[in-house]
Amino acid sequence: MRLKLLSRLSLAAYGSGRNDKGSRIGSPGSALEGMRANEGGFVLLKTALLLCLLLLAPFAGAKEAAPVAEDPEIERRMVALSEDLRCLVCQNETIAASRADFANDLRREIREQMQANKSDKEIVDFLVARYGDFVLYRPPMKSTTLFLWFGPFIFLLAGAVFLVFYLKRRRKHIEEPALSEQQLKQAEALLKEGKG
């Protein structure tokens, strides 16, 4: 029973192997048929792709058109301003660069406020009032941000002072003490020995 099953399996395997061979290097007829079938599939694929593209085309156009403001001057100002603003959702991106929905909303808000003749400062103040200083990539100078602004310089100064002291101390270590008379004689003796 087991043997029978096995043999049937192997036969099936053999058969499929032969079929494979047949379609690959077998009679030219079958190969041609394969090609033709392939070609048919290709045409179908092409048509489907074309259809997809055609169907997508109006959406693509609509999507591109949406964010462009009527006024290029406002658009330029909006981008310039939002390059200095942090997107709170994707925190290492600017509002100008981010593709997050939130950044999109804020760009719209900035654009609208610019159209309403608000100055850049008014718009920034509006955003800071709602999102805090965190929205600014250039933090303002305040008592709480003093260390942020001057901390690096303090560290630099401390490093420089440390370096000067360290180098002075090291020079003392390195300076070779003058050789004594006896040491000189010893050295000469050793040199002579080496030559001999």
Partner: protein, 174 residues
């Protein structure tokens, strides 16, 4: 021996700073609106578009404003907590349905329960900007004078409710 003490001390201080830094959540941006009057709004109600909800209606009572959306995953996480809270009747929860589709929002409430006294609709996120919303969910505690007293960023957890929100609400209710 002593020559290693200074670098070691610097290293320990640095590790201390880094450890504290690891514990901080960069998403928790403190809101400058805490302690300021809540922005005014007049929005359509979710269940009855012909009616509106205004910020002034709730003057004189302590209330929560929960910003939610049917597309927001964390909102599902906090939703049972809000449902429980509204059942308890301690404090009314109002919803701000943020950048959502009305049908989706209604279906969502039907599916998971509706904890909101009223939900107002903010389809374009404009009121959200006024409130400084930058992610959903967010929850605001607003006092009797209409001043924002606390902002919960992210889902309302049981811990946040017990440790922060409810004690504050009780204090504000006086």
């Amino acid at each position: 021996m002593t020559r290693f003490l200074l670098p070691l001390a610097v290293f320990v201080v640095l590790v201390g700073f880094l450890l504290v830094g690891l514990g901080l959540n960069p998403r928790q941006v403190p809101s400058p609106l805490v302690g300021k009057p809540a922005p005014e709004f007049q929005l359509q109600q979710l269940h009855a578009p012909e009616k509106t909800l205004t910020s002034k209606e709730n003057l004189g009572k302590v209330w929560l404003l929960n910003v939610w959306a049917s597309w927001c995953v964390s909102c599902r996480q906090e939703h049972p907590v809000l449902v429980e809270l509204s059942k308890s009747g301690i404090v009314p929860v109002y919803g701000l349905n943020y950048k959502d589709q009305r049908d989706d929002a209604l279906r969502w409430l039907q599916q998971f329960g509706d904890p909101y006294a009223t939900s107002a609709v903010d389809p374009e996120g404009r009121t959200g900007i006024e409130f400084g919303v930058y992610g959903v969910p967010e929850t605001y505690v607003i006092d009797k004078n209409g001043v924002i007293r606390y902002k919960q960023i992210g889902p309302v957890t049981v811990e946040a409710l017990q440790n922060k929100i409810l004690p504050l609400v009780r204090e504000l209710q006086g």
